[in-house]
C-alpha cells in the first residue's frame, strides 16, 4: 500500500456495502498530524460509517486502511489506544457517576487519566459526582467529549462534537479542539454545524451517497463556488472591460456601481478594478453551508 509515511490516517478505495446498499464507496483520503478535516454530507452520506470503519466497529467490504502507519485488519486493536472517539449516538452507563464512568474507561485503557479528567471536567463545567442517568443531553455530550480527549490521543474522531452543548461550552469545546491541533493531533470531525467546520477545519471532505464528492481545503472550496463582488467607482465604467476577465461570469453596471459574479481566483478582477481607481469593494463570502448545499445538491 503506497502510503505517505507521515499520514495519521490513510484510506484507499475503502468501500462498505450492506447487500446492494452503499455505505461508502471508493473512499480515499489522507489525514496528517495537525489536520482538522471536516466530514460534511447529508444524513446517510457515509460520514459515520467511515468513522466506525476507522474504529474497527464495522469491517470494510474492500479497500485498504492504515492508522499511524499500521495497516488495519480484523485483528488490529492496539492502534485504538491512540485514538479518541466521540460517537454520534452516545450511549453511557447510566447507573454510574461521571467519575466512575471515566475512570472505568481509563482502567480499560490501562492509563492514569485522573489529572486530565479533572482538567477537562473543570473547563467543561462537568460535575464528576453526578449520576449519568440524571444528566441532561448536553452534559452527557460533555462526558463524551472528556472520554474522547482524556488519554491525550494522536487522532480524534468526533461525530457531531458540539451537539446539544450550549454556546458557551461550544466555544470552550472549540478552543480545546484548536489546542489539540496545535499539539499536532489530527482531527476528523463530522458536523452539521457549518459554522463550526468553517471555523475549525482546514480541510473539508464532502460525502454524498457514500462517495467523496469534494476533498479540498476550506479556502479552496470557497474559491470554487460563485461569489458576488460589488465595486464602487468614482466614475461610471463599462461592463465589457470586465466581462473578458478569467473567472468573471456576469457583470452588471448601474452608474458607478458594478456587480460581478466570480468563480475561482478574484485577483485578475481586483487588479482590473484597481486600474479604474476603485473606491470600495463589497464581497459576499460564501459560507461552507453554501458550498455544502451546492456540492451535495449536484449529487442528489
Amino acid at each position: 500500500m503506497a502510503t505517505d509515511m507521515c499520514s495519521v490516517v490513510s484510506a484507499r478505495n475503502v468501500a462498505k456495502y450492506y447487500g446492494t446498499r452503499v455505505g461508502v464507496a471508493d473512499v480515499s483520503f489522507e489525514v496528517h498530524p495537525g489536520d482538522i478535516v471536516g466530514f460534511l454530507g447529508p444524513n446517510g452520506s457515509g460520514k459515520t460509517t467511515m468513522m466506525r470503519i476507522l474504529m474497527g466497529l464495522i469491517r470494510p467490504t474492500r479497500g485498504e486502511l492504515s492508522v499511524f502507519g499500521e495497516p488495519l485488519d480484523r485483528r488490529s486493536h492496539s492502534y485504538r489506544s491512540r485514538i479518541g472517539y466521540l460517537p454520534g449516538t452516545l450511549g453511557l452507563y447510566e447507573h454510574m457517576t461521571v467519575g466512575e464512568f471515566l475512570h472505568f474507561l481509563a482502567a480499560m485503557r490501562q492509563v492514569d487519566c485522573s489529572r486530565r479528567i479533572g482538567d477537562l471536567a473543570e473547563r467543561l463545567d462537568l460535575a464528576l459526582d453526578d449520576r449519568i442517568s440524571g444528566l441532561s443531553k448536553g452534559n452527557k455530550q460533555k462526558v463524551g467529549v472528556v472520554q474522547a480527549l482524556m488519554h491525550s490521543p494522536g487522532l480524534l474522531l468526533l461525530d457531531e462534537p458540539t451537539s446539544g452543548l450550549d454556546p458557551i461550552i461550544q466555544r470552550v469545546c472549540e478552543d480545546i479542539i484548536e489546542e489539540e491541533t496545535r499539539k499536532g493531533v489530527a482531527i476528523i470531525l463530522s458536523s452539521h454545524v457549518m459554522h463550526e467546520v468553517d471555523q475549525l477545519a482546514n480541510r473539508a471532505i464532502i460525502l454524498a451517497h457514500g462517495r467523496i464528492v469534494v476533498d479540498d481545503t476550506v479556502e479552496g472550496l470557497k474559491s470554487r463556488i460563485r461569489r458576488q463582488l460589488r465595486f464602487e467607482f468614482p466614475v461610471p465604467v463599462t461592463a465589457e472591460t470586465f466581462e473578458k476577465i478569467e473567472g468573471v461570469h456576469s457583470v452588471v453596471v448601474a452608474g458607478t456601481t458594478m456587480t460581478c459574479v466570480v468563480v475561482g481566483s478574484e485577483s485578475p478582477l481586483l487588479a482590473a478594478a484597481a486600474a479604474h481607481k476603485v473606491e470600495s469593494v463589497f464581497s459576499n463570502e460564501p459560507s461552507l453551508e453554501d458550498i455544502f448545499l451546492e456540492q451535495t445538491g449536484n449529487h442528489q
Binding site: S81, P87, Y93, Q147
Partner: protein, 266 residues
C-alpha cells in the same frame, strides 16, 4: 486475555439480578425442604399415592420412590423447576454476552477501546460463568445445609454431582444463547431461540420413555447427559459430563469467531 475492569463492571452492574436469581433458588430449596418432614412422616401414604399415578406421568417426571430423600429431591428439585431456572439463567446471561452493549447503545464507546473483540467476548463469557458458578454454589450450599438440618443421609459428593449437572446444563444453554447473540446481535432472538432449544430438549427428554423416536435420540440429548444420569443416585458421570463440555466449548468458540467478524450495530 480477560479484562478485569470490564468483568468487574458487568458483575457490579448486574449485582441485583444475580442476588435475585440466587435468593430465588435459595427460597425454592427452603420451601421444598420445609415440606419434606411432612412427606417423610407419612411416607407410606405418599408411596401409595404416587404408585397410583399414571405410568406415563411417572415416567415423564422420572418419579421413583417419591417419599425417599433422593426420590423427593430428584422429583421436586431436579426434574423440572430448578433445571428450568438454571437453563433460564444460562440463556439470560448468554443472551447478554454479545448483545448487551449494542442494546444499551454503549458498544461504540466500549468496543472502540484498545481491547480486541476476542478479549471482550471472552471476558463477558467468563463473567457469565462466574455468575453461574456463584448461583450454583449457593444452590449447592443451601441444599447441603438444608438437608443436613433435616438429617438426610445423602453423601456430599452426590449433592455436588447434582449441582454440577445443573451447572453444566446451564452453561450449555448459555453457550447457545451466546452463539445466537454473536451471530444476530439481537438479545431477544438469542434469548428466545436458546429457551426454545431448552424446551425442545426437555420435551424430548421427558417424552423419551413414551415416544420411541425420542427414546432413540435420547442418548444424544444433553438433558440425558446431565439429569438423566441420576446424579443424586449415581454421582458424577464423567462420560456424560465430558459430552456436555465437548458440545459447549465448540459452540463458544464459534461464538467468538462470529462476534469477531460481524459488524457492531450503532
Amino acid at each position: 486475555m480477560i479484562s478485569f475492569p470490564l468483568m468487574k463492571r458487568v458483575l457490579i452492574e448486574h449485582r441485583r439480578g444475580i442476588s435475585g436469581w440466587t435468593l430465588g433458588l435459595v427460597a425454592l430449596v427452603a420451601i421444598q425442604l420445609a415440606v419434606y418432614p411432612t412427606i417423610r412422616s407419612s411416607a407410606g401414604d405418599w408411596t401409595s399415592l404416587t404408585d397410583a399415578f399414571p405410568e406415563a406421568f411417572k415416567e415423564i417426571f422420572r418419579l421413583q420412590d417419591y417419599a425417599s430423600e433422593r426420590g423427593y429431591l430428584s422429583t421436586e428439585l431436579l426434574s423440572f423447576t430448578v433445571p428450568f431456572i438454571v437453563m433460564g439463567l444460562g440463556c439470560t446471561w448468554g443472551a447478554r454476552v454479545a448483545t448487551e452493549e449494542e442494546d444499551a447503545g454503549t458498544a461504540d464507546i466500549v468496543l472502540s477501546l484498545p481491547i480486541s473483540r476476542y478479549n471482550y467476548i471472552v471476558t463477558r463469557i467468563v463473567a457469565a460463568l462466574v455468575v453461574m458458578i456463584v448461583v450454583m454454589t449457593v444452590f449447592f450450599l443451601s441444599v447441603l445445609i438444608g438437608t443436613r438440618l433435616l438429617n438426610f443421609s445423602i453423601p456430599i459428593h452426590q449433592y455436588f454431582a447434582a449441582s454440577l449437572s445443573l451447572f453444566s446444563l446451564g452453561v450449555l444453554m448459555m453457550s447457545v444463547a451466546v452463539c445466537v447473540g454473536a451471530l444476530t446481535a439481537k438479545r431477544t432472538m438469542a434469548l428466545g431461540l436458546s429457551m426454545a432449544f431448552a424446551i425442545a430438549l426437555f420435551v424430548f427428554y421427558s417424552l423419551a420413555p413414551l415416544v420411541s423416536i425420542f427414546d432413540t435420540v435420547n442418548p444424544y440429548n444433553p438433558m440425558q447427559w446431565t439429569l438423566g444420569a441420576q446424579p443424586l443416585f449415581e454421582g458424577v458421570s464423567v462420560g456424560y459430563t465430558v459430552n456436555v463440555y465437548a458440545g459447549t466449548f465448540p459452540i463458544l468458540f464459534i461464538a467468538t469467531i462470529l462476534f469477531d467478524r460481524r459488524d457492531i450495530s450503532g
